[in-house]
Symmetry: C3
Subunit: 153 residues, 3 copies
């Protein structure tokens, strides 16, 4: 059995962003030198996801809007710091009690998952014609990591 590990680092400009990484996963398979096996792709953070879906911009906007409906952000700031101290955001996440504002990103991570695993056949990612692998940032604008682990022969 052969194995190979690749790490990627992301620092997105926007808080939420989808980054296509199919090509990087394929490159990791080639670096592993395997013909048959699997490529496991995992965000190493609890506020980012990995999924396999269409590379269609309208869909990407739909998905980000829809995820906000299912796991609403609650990082909207009160008008000023005093208000913030006096009136904690009603309905806010408990997770924010420690000063964080990314509770929704954790929920989105749970919904769409932090990982996908792609079968490898004849040295190629065995994906359908419209399937692309994406890194899905839900709390970006800082350095985040991802690991690709390829095993096979």
């Amino acid at each position: 059995m052969k194995s190979h590990t690749t790490y990627m680092t992301f620092e997105t400009e926007r808080r939420r962003e989808l980054v296509r990484i199919t090509e990087e996963v394929q490159a990791a398979v080639e670096a592993a030198g395997i013909a048959e096996g699997m490529a496991l792709v995992c965000a190493m953070h609890i506020t980012a996801g990995v999924w396999v879906n269409d590379d269609e911009p309208g869909l990407h906007e739909d998905v980000l809007e829809w995820l906000d409906k299912l796991a609403p952000p609650s990082w909207s700031e009160p008008a000023n710091d005093v208000a913030r101290e006096l009136v904690p955001n009603p309905g806010d996440y408990r997770h924010h009690a420690g000063g964080e504002d990314n509770g929704d990103a954790h929920l989105k991570n749970l919904l769409v998952h932090h990982q996908a695993i792609v079968p490898v056949t004849d040295g190629r990612l065995d994906l359908g014609p419209w399937q692309q692998v994406f890194y899905c940032e839900f709390d970006g604008r800082r350095r985040k990591r991802l690991v690709i682990k390829v095993i096979g022969e």
Copy 2:
């Protein structure tokens, strides 16, 4: 390490349909000739899923109804083609701007995922007593593919 790949094709009668495939996944494990390893089962489309759950008809109806609540369909057609051109469906998915009507199927695919991976022990799928593997079609009535990749020894 041994490996084996099986492709399955589905053409469901209904737009949405759950198809039990536990037996086919077990057959792929036997074709691989492994005792220990894993069987990765992936829909090759972005509008279908794979899950492991109960084979109980009431639950299946519940799940399809519930998925429509979380990811509502918006493929309801206006009365005629002219109306369709003049009045795009309000609140419709951006993904439908290109003429498609399966935006909700993409979201359902993201929610329930396009894949599951089953441990193999002593040559058998190592599932609990109520666990069955299902192919979950969200945009059927046309040919769709699935890949089963077994690795192990």
Copy 3:
């Protein structure tokens, strides 16, 4: 290729409970004696999940509350057995027609998934600094099982 299988049993006090199992998964990797590979962690039930997320109590409460919004429980009992027989809970899950009351636990299982797969590098779970593996019970107070399958070399 080496492989190793570990089974765990849970019997939680509460109906819903999150149990951190990172250390047990790491122990299974050590029992397997591998340096490179993958550890697959699967609930063997259709009413429990496995996820990788933060070990932060506020977040855990947030997640359980949020899952109740997305997949509402409907196990509230009518006032007495006669009422139960005469007036089935309106809006209840079809799955409950057979006498069960855990329909929502099935839906939660589908949402958060029954499994996660952790890459192994240099004999260690290759997780980010805040990532912990959890067993997520949605219908506890009885014995439930989980399987950890490690493969690698």
